[in-house]
Symmetry: C2
């Protein structure tokens, strides 16, 4: 990734203020440039995913968080829509089922972690357990407060086991969310996405931003840093996430596995 | 789907001979025509998948079977590589794990059936339990013989529950498999796919063809017919599977769900 993008990284142990991160930041790029680079990155990600699958040594886990309409679905589609569906598994975490709720908060998450060779995408994740749970008071404070450390330890074990983690907070402005909600109300192919219930978190916007700020600060680690991705402009959001995915896969320096020894010089009858 | 393609359908209750189905059949199409149609179908499938997801009433299950190198992976990539990975889940069935083997043969299959709104793809499936299991003698004859009826009843329940099933046997010739295996031996980006162990089923080709013939004849039903897809030409194979997928989704006559009643006339603060 371009070193310039590291300004979106939350430095471990050096808390940021979300207010300093403009949701409409576009890195002084032009949309046409960004689209061209994204197309190239998609091709590269496609090849790197095949290598990931062939080598069966690493996994990639992409975690997407953000307010409603911030573009979690769109990012998945635009960044990973070109990879072989066989090598990419998306998990959308909803309100926990009765069975999930009968376990600790990481139980259902752990089951969905990608195996070696796979790209896994979490559309929402265990971070909901320090976001909506905190803001809506769904667990006592001492419970959600202990979770930051539990998350860091959980993710550390994954990374030490070959699961590379990319965490993106898709950061939109309250104004941009209004535009997108109005669009959902009007576009007949988008109306099904609109739910009056989604307006409740919007009414508690500041409390959510405070919870997000704590989450990215408490859980940005050397092994799994958070990125605050400006998401008012979809094309810039997609580009940044694609760069992070490509950079992470590229860093694995994978090579095509050689022919197995028994097969050398074999003839096919 | 073009009515002409129905000659690839195995008529329920009217057994076919695989020998009458030429693996190099191309339906008198030109490759360029087929590629153009495939591109159009991919776009249509992408839209239909969004509708499937939006309406949450139906699921689509695509079952791919075929000898090694017949192109199960390639078909998934070429036919479904354009759909949102969030709405498409591929399951590759391998040798059963100890836990899977401790259950009946449909247990692990049932767990992987797509939920409403989803496209599921089975790369191999419960049909292995009347194919490899039969040819390699992994279960007694009375066990695998009873499975045809069990499969038909299982699939019927799925169809009656809104899961639409497309079953494709990717039919290649033994000669074409030889070419593809030789290619795997030579291409550095494909060598990882070659396993000497894969030559054993090749050595029992005729027994496998007999098992496939019985499977498609015994399990082609009105609710879930089998298609014998000529697969020596990848471009024709991809086109036929794409047509089947598109035709099935199209037949659901889905429409964009309207705005929920509470949201009509709402304003966004």
């Amino acid at each position: 990734m371009h070193g310039a993008d590291d300004r979106h990284r939350v430095p471990p142990g050096d808390p940021i203020h979300l207010a300093d991160h403009a949701p409409d930041d576009t890195g002084e790029m032009r949309k046409s440039e960004a689209k061209k680079e994204l197309a190239e990155l998609r091709d590269e990600i496609d090849t790197l995913q095949r290598l990931l699958y062939a080598t069966q040594r690493h996994a990639l886990l992409v975690i997407l968080q953000g307010m409603d309409t911030s573009g979690k679905d769109g990012t998945i589609r635009k960044v990973l829509g070109g990879v072989n569906p066989q090598g990419c598994h998306v998990t959308s975490f909803k309100v926990p089922t009765a069975e999930e709720a009968s376990h600790d908060f990481l139980w259902r998450i752990h089951r969905a972690v990608p195996g070696r060779g796979m790209i896994g995408v979490f559309n929402r994740s265990h971070y909901e357990d320090v976001l909506v749970v905190r803001v809506e008071g769904l667990a006592p404070e001492e419970e959600w407060r202990r979770r930051y450390d539990a998350i860091n330890a959980f993710e550390r074990n994954l990374v030490e086991s070959g699961v590379h983690i990319v965490k993106c907070f898709l950061h939109i402005s309250k104004e941009e969310q209004r535009e997108r909600l109005l669009n959902r109300l009007e576009d007949p192919t988008d109306q099904w996405k609109f739910s009056v219930g989604d307006l409740a978190p919007r009414a508690r916007w500041d409390a959510y931003m405070a919870a997000y700020e704590d989450a990215v600060n408490r859980c940005s680690t050397e092994w799994a840093p958070w990125y605050v991705v400006p998401a008012d402009k979809k094309w810039y959001r997609n580009l940044l996430v694609a760069r992070l995915v490509a950079r992470t896969l590229r860093s694995l320096a994978m090579e095509w596995p050689p022919l197995e020894a028994e097969a050398v010089g074999i003839s096919i009858e």
